[in-house]
Assembly symmetry: C2
Homo-oligomer: 318 residues x 2
Amino acid sequence: MKGARVVALSGGIGGAKLALGLYRVLPPHSLAVIVNTGDDFEHLGLTICPDIDTTLYTLAGLANPELGWGRRDETWSFMETLAVLGGPTWFRLGDRDLALHVERTQRLKTGEALSGIVEDLARRLGIAAVVLPVTDDPVRTQVHTPAGTLAFQDYFVRLRCEPALRSLSFAGAARAKLCAPARAALGAQALEAILLCPSNPYLSVDPMLAVPGLREAVRAAGVPVVAVSPIVAGRAIKGPTAKIMRELGLEPTPATIARHYEGLIDGLVVDRADAALVADLPCSACLTDTVMVTPADRERLAREALTFAATLRRSARA
Amino acid sequence: MKGARVVALSGGIGGAKLALGLYRVLPPHSLAVIVNTGDDFEHLGLTICPDIDTTLYTLAGLANPELGWGRRDETWSFMETLAVLGGPTWFRLGDRDLALHVERTQRLKTGEALSGIVEDLARRLGIAAVVLPVTDDPVRTQVHTPAGTLAFQDYFVRLRCEPALRSLSFAGAARAKLCAPARAALGAQALEAILLCPSNPYLSVDPMLAVPGLREAVRAAGVPVVAVSPIVAGRAIKGPTAKIMRELGLEPTPATIARHYEGLIDGLVVDRADAALVADLPCSACLTDTVMVTPADRERLAREALTFAATLRRSARA
């Protein structure tokens, strides 16, 4: 196995958009996506992995374009009935989506590793890329707010990120191990670049970096590491990144992102809207349009990020 | 609480038909149905109670008339997707049906008793009758065949009752307790009759009677106990009753049914097709049409069974 040419580290929706762009512009079986598991949680007796599922659905062409999460062609009979029966409805689970959670939970109960299950599910969904959890061990993001500590999905879905975020912790991360196929992907012969998708650095990428060995494996790969800034003109492309940065006392700029990833990345892809801020970056920059609206946007951004990484590789060799 | 006027002991589909007839001809809150739990099983991490669910759906007017099991207006997205993901599909679970299993399983995990959960679910489904498992403790019917022992649903659904049945056992029954609300229903002041629905005596009623205390509570109730024969002209109205009787070396006749319930019942409702066999019965008989095709059939049979029971009560007093 030569392994994938590109490894992407990704959270959920925002990251999966770029992962899909990479998937489309690269030859089949050239991409490995290592996905955040800090959002995973237990609900209705099921182990739910929102970021992994978003990645699977997006790469399989099954993502729901209207909702921005879950599956297309979804039905909601389960949820409607659960409401009648008095069950919890704050986390919406479509009937098709539910099959993934039930099947994965069953396989986890038999002792199978999450990474093996996800690799198999990706194959069954016809995805010609490797999709991997960062770790097979449970990592659970905890959000510390003035009103107390919240489990991630309580904060993110039930309370819609409304409580002020004081700090984050990643329960289980210190004891977690980088899963073997993720380690293999980062050490692969064929590897040319590592991309940090424009996911939330605090909520989506930090839980991954909290897993001992990931940061070291990324650096040891010896290939250019490029992040795409999730901040454009002081706002997040998607989700609460800017709000959280303000709550953490951080300026929502690409420079803050670059400093957050300092020592890990070689370059940052920055939106043209932030051209004036590029001088402040502690790393190389690539200016382009980073807001992905159409499928073509995703492919173009993927191509530009890969080209940028290739440039950094050449300059490193020079 | 005066309690219900009528208690029915019922298995699944065949029994639920008569339970619905009783429900329709009696005033609201006059019926308690005590249901077999020997068919219950664990599947996909869920505790599934097929007979209880058939009873709930039937009384709530939600039963699927085409399938004969499950819910009407059902969707099958979950099952379709589970097949794609490589999950087990031999036990078909509709999307709406699934909500009941998930919600019940969650409540069981919190330590709630099955009887309390089912009573609550019945209320939420708008059922003006009490629906109860015979016991809150797990009872699991085991089917002994020449090829070995099978869990009930393996035999009944996966193998479609094809293996020859040598004997049955009811794992857990000896240690199970008649649930408190079932005991209360059988001891209620208002109680006028106890009916054994035309369920399979071996597969559906025996697992209930294997629970210590049920037989005694039925007799101690001091009201007429009437069974409706599930055998008509040597055949079962529904399901494998006749096949099983032959495999057990029993003649498929109402007399065999009456002898099976000897000491428990005061009378047997027998189909007119078996009029010639009534002389062999060890108990009183009521001849009528017992095959329930239309909703009107169910109500008529329910009325006749209740009238028969009332007659037995009068004759006992005389």
